[in-house]
Symmetry: C2
């Protein structure tokens, strides 16, 4: 039986949800997936850090109501979070990066990933920042160190758009994609169709916890832009930076625009897309688009996300699923670990055969 | 560079489309996928058979207008199709089975697969018959002989529903699925929504080439039933036979039923589904269902297919894409060969490292 030791960097919603899963699912995973996870380190700016080579009790971690610096009370703990030392010295096979997204330079997460890969640890992350800004460097670093850099959850939480395109559509000749990649703006558009104006719809999204106090990143398309960069670079072999992607959000849409679309049997959707042109160059964009009701993305409602992959041999293949959620995003981390595990197991099995 | 030698069993639309792809794409595949395909044998009940150890010219095969028994004119050819001898003796790494679907006992395709696997050849197929009727036996046989039995195209042509569930959703805890798995009946329902009665809609489908002269298998749900069996057995570990799945088609729906659904903001769809009950038992069914318009499958129109996979950790994830088409189905065969190739390459690469 395989046990992977893991270090959690950040202990917010996502890594806490992963810890909940570990507390309840390890036995099931051992049977169905062939491995268990053992948390040997946690570091969090607010709670402090802890290293425990024999493993921390996942149930204790999620059930204890830690105060600021509370990890200092644990054996091997400190009230301070020295991420660099934790990442470099924790006896972990895998570093799980789930700190906040910095859309400008990806820091501190880029450094977290770099430190982990440099010291021979796999990295799994749901953090858009380091993937959108530094995937090329980090993938090269992973390769040089014989480890994995996996980030399925950086685009659609647990909905496996990256892995579907890469593992199941090889040879279909991907030409581009278009997607609904932000649940908040999609919810706001739906409420505007229900009769609210933009400001009232945003307010309702905030009250329901779908939108943050500052909704700019969601409604102005900046969040989608990072996801377009990640998908274009990963699936179309582009080398885009966020600034290369034209970006227009939904704040300019009026109630009259919404009504006019409905009369034309169509709906406004915030679409992130990229396409490879005849010259081979990949261009990305984020923009509201009026889709006819029979368009594959027109029926995607609320917080659901979807991406249509446009291929030469198959035409359009669409994947639709959750784009957010604590457990859903934690599942993305698990799916990354499954991918790491399967690479190694398939080799071990065949070498033994 | 890797060359896979292949034997085509059946030279109808699908294997002919694969041959067209080979004629034009081998160079691209060599660069992007790491292999070329070389056709060393073809057998077809109408055209006869041919074995050519150095390989047949794919362009010649698709461009020649062969008459009945026409393969007899080729070097190494015969006007007769002795599938057993061809399958057992052709110097092929992979046998590509694309003969007709027999929904009762899966023959002759089951025997084709068996002969290939027994003689150490991989099998890729788009034929529902052998997969729905004999997958368990054939998978065991493949394993015992150290080869693959792959059949992505048996459910949704090239849309990778099997591989998505298995390669990208491991650990998400699949509880069941529901899908639109027959484009003909879905087209007929759409035309009935457009005002035609059942008989007129079927007639139009026949005129457009979507429905066969005898539309029974499509409109009575028998085609969907085979696909439900394949998915339930493959993804939910069931051991269903076609007769275990309750099956009701769309021929009983009247124009009044369609109208009533529209007034209730819903649509009739022919749904194939399976679910694992509390006792662990998997039950499958095929039946028309009235779906509310915001249901993920309600917007799937015409010949498009879709399957929603219901999971414990991710909720519902839906894949939508073509469910038929010559090139689309031929792509499924390519995707199976990519899967075979990647298993072997990842081992070879790591052994060399």
């Amino acid at each position: 039986m395989t046990v992977y030791t893991i270090a959690l960097i950040g202990f917010g919603g996502v890594n806490r949800a992963l810890t909940e899963l570990i507390a309840t699912k390890n036995q099931l995973w051992e049977r169905d997936l062939g491995f268990r996870l053992n948390i040997v380190a946690v570091s969090d700016l607010f709670l402090g850090s802890v290293i425990s080579p024999n493993g921390l009790d996942a149930k204790m971690l999620v059930e204890t109501n830690f105060a600021k610096g509370g990890f200092g009370q644990l054996s091997g703990g400190s009230a301070e979070a020295d991420n660099e030392t934790i990442i470099k010295t924790a006896p972990a096979d895998i570093v799980v990066e789930a700190t906040f997204t910095n859309p400008i330079d990806g820091e501190a997460a880029v450094s977290h990933c770099r430190w982990a890969l440099q010291t021979g640890k796999h990295v799994v992350t749901t953090n858009k920042g380091p993937v959108a800004i530094a995937a090329r460097e980090l993938k090269a670093l992973a390769k040089a160190n014989g480890v994995h850099f996996e980030y399925e959850g950086s685009v659609m939480s647990g909905t496996p758009v990256i892995r579907m395109a890469e593992k199941t559509l090889a040879g279909a000749e991907l030409k581009g994609f278009e997607g609904i990649l932000n649940g908040t703006s999609n919810f706001v558009l739906g409420r505007m169709e229900g009769g609210l104006d933009f400001a009232a719809a945003v307010k309702e999204a905030q009250q329901l916890g779908y939108a943050e106090a500052d909704p700019t990143a969601d409604v102005e398309g900046f969040d989608v832009r990072l996801k377009v960069v990640i998908l274009a670079n990963e699936l179309l072999g582009a080398d885009l930076k966020p600034g290369d992607v034209i970006c227009k959000g939904i704040s300019g849409l009026s109630a009259a625009d919404i009504e006019k679309a409905a009369k034309a049997n169509s709906r406004w959707k915030l679409i992130g897309s990229a396409v490879r042109g005849a010259d081979g160059r990949v261009t990305g964009s984020v923009s509201p688009r009026q889709l006819p009701l029979d368009h594959p993305l027109a029926g995607v409602n609320g917080a659901t996300n979807a991406v249509s992959l446009n291929t030469e041999l198959l035409g359009s293949v669409t994947i639709t699923g959750p784009g957010a959620g604590r457990i859903e995003t934690a599942y993305a981390l698990l799916s990354d670990i499954v991918a790491i595990h399967n690479t190694h197991v398939s080799v071990a099995t065949r070498e033994a055969a």
